[in-house]
Every structure is written in C-alpha cells, then in structure tokens.
Symmetry: C2
C-alpha cells in the first residue's frame, strides 16, 4: 500500500470519527467564518472601533463588547454616555451571529438590526443615525471605503450596520478543547471535563444549552422552577410581546468562552462560574448538584474557550472641518 | 563595471544625499524603534489595553491615547472616571519617547515615570498603585508574564510602568513624506509643501519645533509675544517650579502626525490646523502670515504624518475570584 493511500485512509477515519461523535452530541462544533466580503469586513472593523459613532466620540462598539476580553466588558452592566449605567449585562459579540435572535429579549432579528440600536440609545452611544452618517460622510476616507465596499458613496445606516455585522461574523472562536474532543481527539479533555460534560447532559443543562453556541437557540424563563432573586428590573420578552407569561423570559445565552464573559446572568450578579452552575441547577432545573458535580461541570465549561480572534487595530481616518464636534 | 559595484555606488550616493540634506535641516528623521525586549513589549502592550488598571475597569491607557487615532482621543481634554473632564489636552503617545520630558509641564522625566500618573489620578483612572498591582497579581497569567519579562513573579509598579514605557517606545511613526524628502527623495513633497517648509523655517517656527519630533525638546511660554486667550486654568511649569516666570510655560508639543492629533494647544481649543498655524505666528512669533502662507505651512505639516504602528490587539487574561471587582 503506498503512502498516499495510507494518508487517504487516515483522513477518512479521522473525518468519520469527527462526524460520528459530533452527530451524537447536543453541542456542535464552532466553525470559523468563511466567504465574507473582505472590503465589508475591513470597513466593519474600522466602524467597530470608531468612537465617532457616539455623541461624545469616546464610546465605540468595542467599549462594551471588547474583543480583547471575550467580547464583553466584564461589568454587571455597561457604562455609557455621561457614565449612564445600562439596564442589562452586555452579551458577548463572539460567535454572536449564531444566535437565533439578538439582544437578551430578542428584539433584533439579526446582527445588522442589533447594530443600529446602541448608536441611538441615550444611555449608550447617545447619538442619532443621522448624526453618525453625517460624521462618516464628512470624512473623505470613509466615503471612499463605503464606495469600495458597497459601490456607492451615498451610504446610509443600512450600509453602516451591514458592515459592522459583516465584521462581527468573523468573530468566531473555533478549536476549543471541547471542539477538538468533538472532532475525535480524546486527549483534548481531562477526565474531570469529560465527567463534567456527562453531568451537564445528565442534569438536563443541554435542554437549553445546545447547538454550536451551547445556547442562543431559544428563549427560556429565568427562574423556571424557582424565582430568581434580583434587583434588576428588566422583564425580558414581556416588554416586547406584552404577554404576562413572557415575564423574565430571555434568550438563553451562549456558554462559549464562558470563562471570559463574567459576570453571569442578565443582571451580571454572579462572578464565580461554579456558583452560576449551582444557581442554574437550583432555579432552572430544580435539581440538586453537589459541590463536586458543580466543580466538574465548571471544568467542562472551561473547555468551551476557543481561539480568540486575532485583530489588527484599524487606523481611523482624521475628521475634517465639516465633522461634528464631540458632545461632552 | 560589474553590477555589484554599480549597486554599491548607488547606495553610497543615496546615503550621502540623505545624510547631507538631513544634516542641514533643523527637523530630523524619525527612526523606527530597535533593540527593545520583546517580552517586555508584549507585556506592556497588554497592560496598555488593560482597563483593570482603572477603578471602574473601563479606562485603559489607550482610552485617552488611542493608537487607532494618532495616539490621542481627539477631545479638548479627556474623559475619565465617572465622566470627569480633564484639565489639559491629552498629548499623543506616538514617538513620545523622544520628548525631553513628559506631560505638558514636564513633571515626569521619562515615559516610565509618566505612566504611573494616570493610574492614581482621581479624574483619570482613579485607582491606586496597590490596587492595580493587587489586580494583576490575582491573575495567574500576569504573574507568568511578569516572570518571563522580569525574571520574578513579585512585581511592583516599577515593572508595570517599565513594561508600559517599553511598549510605548515601539510607537514610532517613520517614513513620513517629509522624512522621505529628508532622506533625499525630492518627489516625496509637493511644491506647496516644500514652499511651506521654507516658510516654516523662515518665519521662525523651527526655533521651537525642531529635532526628530519637530518639538518636544524645550519649554516655551504659550503667548510669548501676545497673551493667549483661553478659559483653561492650567498655569504650566509654574505649578512645578513655583516661579512666576514659568506661568503658562509648557513643553513645546511635537508636530509629528499633527493632522491626526486635533484639537490643538494645551487647551484643545483650536480644531483647524491652518487656524492653529495662524494663532502661533501671531502670539508666539508676533509676525503676520498671509492666508496663503498659512495654507502652505499647513500643507507641509501634513507631510509629517508617518506610518502608524501596526498593533495586534492583545487577549487579556480573565480575572479570578481573588480579583477586585470594578467600582462603578
């Protein structure tokens, strides 16, 4: 048998092992982003770091969804314009295109729709779409970049949010230890992590935390079997639907990179991951977990940290005399 | 004559042209950084983007000296802890190691001494050195990085500021059009820029704005021949020396990358570069410049924009249960 045939067989064996373990598991592999328009990605990256999309010219998308730290700000809730404190924990931007809807209450159907929100939110960037577009159009380099990416200089908030969303779609975190294990590498997880994952399934966590995101595919009530104690006043989906039974119903968050995205829950009230596991078992599943079990599940959750995006900081083009001045 | 000899002769001609033009000009070439310890640079870069050096965990060195935008925040003065507004314009970090002293009033002798200031300034990062060190030490990855860079896990503010300063030393912006011209490339500047530079020297601007930074080598009174009108209450060097004749005496700022570092002057009161040129001629030199002359000088100043540093965003290691929580 020649060398090429042996290699071909090894590839087949490896692929089929990968397909078979992943196909029987509720959590799926995170694939890297492919097929995105590079001009839109580059423009979107620049806009992602652009504080001139905010009234004060100091707050960018990255301020609250910092790609240097798991795509979050690690605060219970974010600090916005004039130090306003937000009403809910900022979710991670990493892998966020895989969420079935955006925002905790699902009020945006996709990343493009989501990206329009913070710019106009008075406690976040506190700007307006018109002012943001006026700012970008006052800068010749942006007009050129929009023309390159969209074939026209006369862009609107639609192109701005499309570019940001296209950049966000690049922010996948593949190759976590767990994904390597899903693909057939038994050595990728420790015994404690394998046992933790078994417990995670056995206790019922995968009822909500499944798919490539280990979450992000459904809504669920926070406090399903026992009320969740919180000072946070957000009523979840009910604010959108007006239905009383949607009270405290939120999108199930992803568990990908969960070790980086503390503090946990929509109110950001829990900083310790093992404590978060214990709270979930108690109020969502209504079943006891021992400290030892919670520790194992936590060890498994650490295996969901993937390769973080490698991002070269853009160089933002200078303002002109036509650019609106910052509102401090 | 063989090809190698011809190439050697060309190199000699080119080097001597470079040396001869540069040696006779008051502004010198910006050289790229060399010989810096890579472990310290990498650690310093991580600390540069580290918001956990601030009380709120939201303000990093990069917040006010944004390397994506000329090393500044493009605000009259910076926004700090709880939206406090600073008393003086944030100078650029680009090429800042070439300044003869640091801060507008020269109160720090070098970048390392400077870096200690903002962490403890109540209207900037509003933290303390002890708390900052405690935060970093609570994170195992930082202990490892400090050990790699400094040979010990038991680091202090000295190592923290040394690492930050070492990273800052990498932030040179070589190869500006002006530097290419200084090196002998006549085509690097337009006729208007060459004429502008001639005016710049002829009017006396190079008395203060000389050397590789086109500034940063001396103190000078703001309002040397005519008082500078400002609402800003900073008295400059006098606050350090206690001498009345040091009132409104500041370090002469660099003109490198000046098109990116608006608004201008220590009070950030002037947004238009040509207007800044006209004000300088009026209050510092006491000589008239025509609009046409100021326009040419401004065109020359645009040639001082160098290659901006290419920076890959670090991945900040997660906090632990021992890490102090943010103070919002």
């Amino acid at each position: 048998m020649n060398k090429n045939i042996i290699i071909s067989m090894m590839v087949v064996v490896s692929c089929s092992a990968y397909a078979s373990r992943e196909s029987s598991e509720p959590i799926k592999v995170i694939e890297p982003a492919t097929g995105l328009d590079s001009a839109k990605v580059e423009l979107g990256k620049t806009l992602w770091f652009e504080p001139r999309l905010s009234a004060s010219n100091t707050i960018s998308c990255n301020s609250c969804h910092n790609v240097a730290k798991g795509g979050v700000d690690n605060l219970p809730s974010s600090i916005g314009h004039k130090w306003a404190v937000g009403g809910i924990n900022s979710p991670t931007v990493l892998n966020s295109d895989l969420n079935f809807v955006q925002f905790w209450n699902g009020r945006a159907k996709d990343l493009q729709e989501q990206a329009a929100g913070p710019i106009e939110n008075p406690i976040e960037m506190a700007f307006s779409h018109d002012l943001a577009i006026g700012t970008l159009k006052s800068i010749p380099q942006y007009r050129e970049w929009f023309k390159e990416a969209y074939g026209k200089e006369d862009f609107t908030i639609t192109e701005v949010t499309d570019a940001i969303a296209t950049f966000e779609k690049t922010l996948r975190t593949p190759n976590s230890a767990f994904d390597q294990w899903l693909k057939g590498d038994d050595s990728a997880l420790s015994t404690e992590q394998v046992e933790g994952y078994a417990l995670f399934k056995q206790k019922g966590c995968t009822f909500c935390h499944s798919g490539p995101l280990a979450g992000g595919q459904m809504y669920q009530k926070m406090g399903l079997v026992k009320a969740f104690e919180t000072d946070n006043t957000d009523i979840g989906r009910a604010a959108i639907t007006g239905n009383d039974f949607d009270k405290y119903v939120f999108k199930v968050p992803t568990l990908r990179n969960i070790e980086l995205t503390y503090p946990y829950f929509h109110d950001g009230s829990v900083w310790d991951l093992q404590e978060a596991v214990e709270v979930m078992a108690d109020i969502q599943l209504g079943i006891p977990v021992t400290k030892q079990e919670a520790k194992k599940i936590t060890a498994f959750l650490h295996s969901l940290t993937g390769e973080q995006p490698v991002i070269t900081l853009p160089h933002l083009p200078p303002s002109t005399n036509e650019t609106a001045r910052p509102q401090i």
